[in-house]
Amino acid sequence: MGLQRKDLLSLEELTAEEMLLILDTAQSFKEVVQRPIKKVPALRGKTVVNLFFENSTRTRTSFELAAKRLSADVVNFTASTSSLAKGETLLDTVRNIEAMNVHTIIMRHAYSGSVRLVAQNIKASVVNAGDGTHEHPTQGLLDMFTIRECKGSLAGLTVTLVGDIIHSRVARSNIHGLIKLGAKVRIVGPATLVPRSFARLGVEVHTNLEEAIKDADVINILRIQLERQDGKFFPSSREYATMYGVNARRLKLAKPDVLIMHPGPMNRGIEISPRVADGPNSVILDQVTNGVAVRMAVLYLLSGGENADENVN
């Protein structure tokens, strides 16, 4: 069984079975990246383009390593050096790249929906590496992979997402994915960043951090994204830290084996205290490690043709 789709644009449109297929495949790739030779020939001869219209180090590097460990050729394309600066439209840019016979385009863009627009207009596979405030599906998947690895299963767990929910594509991907795999999701933060309307996605909406992390199995702390905020959402970083910063004292309210997650980059001392970030409950660096395996699984599963015949010897 492969993934019967050309693109990975959101977790909202994936079924629970598709997500579990990706997570199970990622488990195999996690073993691959622990080998002495961390490379398999699965995508030999295929070309993957990293098309990032927004700055990124971690995600771009993670995708690049994932593609290289599958033996694909990787081209990196950054917006500042592109023809977009000369006035070319987005679709013209991607059609030109596609005309060079690439198989997969990994795209990040500041506008929500831009990745889908591109996917609908080209034949190559497109992987959403973050579109505006919409979704960041591979981050959602690697968060779920990390939780499942530590806890065995996602069903019945209470996961609290803390912080800048409204601007967070990571939050939206987490919410869609976690709910489909049976977890209970709470969101918490200042009312300006955590709209009540999220309740219709099936989450509990909180404004009191201590209530929201009580007995939580997982706390996923989101970055305060000052660059996406076009106004004042809270009075000061210091006040935010006082009200919504996750620190060692507050951590005691959660379950003793609570997992602390953060998609990075962290604002230490604002949304997360250094003691929590570096403490025994933190799996923040495991998330980064798992990200490569999850992205290998996504690239591999999207590259398959028709369904596999089980009976080939």
């Binding site: 069984m1 699984a297 591999y300 015949d309 010897n313």
Partner: protein, 179 residues
Amino acid sequence: METNKKNQVMESETIRRAMTRIAHEILERNKGMDDVVLIGIMKRGDILAQRLADQIQKIEGKQPPVGALDITFYRDDTGQRGVSAGNNRPTHLPFNVDGKKVVLVDDVLFTGRSIRAAMDELIDYGRPQLIQLAVLVDRGHRELPIHADFVGKNIPTSPKQKVEVLLQERDGEEAVWIR
């Protein structure tokens, strides 16, 4: 013709005898079990490798190390037959393959492409002293210069037929069918 009909070509007793004979042959060929490791190709070769190890234990009083290979990511036909992930557990080799006498174990030998993939993967782990191949069924129609050192049963087939191996541990029954 009876090409669509199912024919049973082995049952549990013939499978058991074939595996016992292969265990003896492995010991004879390698003059004992020094440096011998058994590596099964998922998802049935790993079961057969474990059975051979148990059999060798009965004969020699000591079990050789057993590993399992998931060759999915080494196949040369990803584009043609689609991906087939999610079926297998990850590769598990709880020993260093450098200098070992590796006996690869698979259920059916057909085109030889799975064996090619398995050897490529194995060589990414290290440099075995030698690699031998043990299969329960050799059905012919090789597309690569590969042959088995130990064969449970040679079964002539047409390329369009399917050979189905069912093992107790995985399938709840024990049989080899041709259809």
